[in-house]
Symmetry: C2
Subunit: 306 residues, 2 copies
Amino acid sequence: MDFAVHTLGCGSAKPSLRHQPSSTIVEFRNNLFMIDCGEGAQLAMMRKRLKFQRLRHIFLTHLHGDHVLGLPGLVSTLDLHGTGGELTIHTTSEGEKILSPILKAFAGFTDFKINFNILSPSGGETAFENHSLKIRTVRLNHRVPTLGYIFEEKPRLRHLRRDMCDFHGVPMSQFNKIKAGHDFIKPDATVIPNDRLTSPPSPSLSYAHISDTAYTPRLAEEIGPVTLLFHETTYLDADLPLAAPRGHSTARQAAEIAKASGAKWLLTGHYSSRYSDDGLFRKEAEEIFPNVILNNEGLTTDLTKL
Amino acid sequence: MDFAVHTLGCGSAKPSLRHQPSSTIVEFRNNLFMIDCGEGAQLAMMRKRLKFQRLRHIFLTHLHGDHVLGLPGLVSTLDLHGTGGELTIHTTSEGEKILSPILKAFAGFTDFKINFNILSPSGGETAFENHSLKIRTVRLNHRVPTLGYIFEEKPRLRHLRRDMCDFHGVPMSQFNKIKAGHDFIKPDATVIPNDRLTSPPSPSLSYAHISDTAYTPRLAEEIGPVTLLFHETTYLDADLPLAAPRGHSTARQAAEIAKASGAKWLLTGHYSSRYSDDGLFRKEAEEIFPNVILNNEGLTTDLTKL
């Protein structure tokens, strides 16, 4: 898929038979990027037929067990496959300190390599960048240092107007340059402006992953108007007094952030095990913000169709 | 249950959608004893409705990921419950060195306490003992130091012959002494020998947990004639050349140990993910030893009914 979000686990710290601990896969073109790796994430990947070989980056939001304790098992499996390659774990220096010894103890027997990309707990950094994607961090407001991740597709190429290209005799070897915005210079030195040969690119897509955090209004601006905003909805507003002291948000508060940030869609999740009807999270959020997707294990959200 | 073995996971190192990594619960009267804790063990306990509160001891066979990587998550959950109490992890000093830091990082926030009982990798020790049960270790033959565990119920009390007790006027206050084997002395100093008042106790039950190991004939004698022998059956005999170099056994070899040790029943398991028909393990073992129980996730084997 071109740009999609696969939910492996959308429960919170107390395990239940209804929801798995946190883990999400962002599929972007040929790559899989994992955000958090709660226990059971590797099995959830297998159930979704997401190939381990395509996973080269794992981004950790913070160091609570329900977000990282599937990592040793997953890394051990990647190592067992014996196909070599590298995995980069994006976390704070504290994360490397805590996780590195256990990963070394249970993996590293083949030529599979683990790198750490050390991030500042203050956010505001680029965690990853290539020619088509940038992943930046924002500082969340939880009980321990916690990062959110914003996946931003870089501007797409302009669409060629095939009829105009044919009319002006643009050779195929020039297509990539024209799509990138260059004018076409004919053999007789006539300049054909780019906008005669192309139409504007499709809008770039973006995804924000905001878990775990107390309601923090400044986040709306820092996140910006993304295509899809996952914002934790640990509690319902009926339990509002529990949320802030525990560094979590209610579904209504998540919807307030979605509205203020200009997000197109809101994805719920990180549900407390105290509730048995997840539909209530959507219902509460929809009172503030209309476009709510109710998260669940195994859900795939295709950003190109939003 | 009085004495039962609950299988949480009976797969081997490579995860699959068919079998979970290793974990077993031995239920003995009111206590749950866990042997190994592969990823997902806590969820498997919940599925079997085995209460976390009854679990106070975890015995590790060795330090491969598929036998221990569910431990941090389980311990974190026990801690989260906030009900206090203690958990003792029985492992080698190497086990404490590797596991202690990660357990400290993800648990220990409430007054829940983790102890380590350090065992010798040479086996031949008593790992646990109370008035009714003894758990001893045997050294297995794997690629890293590995222990098997033998659960031996202590001799049961003799059965009272109610009619004879009434006839001789034995008061209820004496029943426990009589069941323990004492004679009864009447008020007139007449001695009634114990065997007139009681019949022999039911035979004591025993369980041996032998995973992971290459075929090792000396084990038969060290294990002894247990009621139920779990002996790993990682491979089928068709793949015999793989077994010993990897420190594993075939189903036929497990059956040879069951036969030589005088076990009553053999329980299979630790299946390699290369096979799709588990029934072949039973079929192969039954050619050597008739009483084979085919293991699977969620299976409960009640020793009192064997």
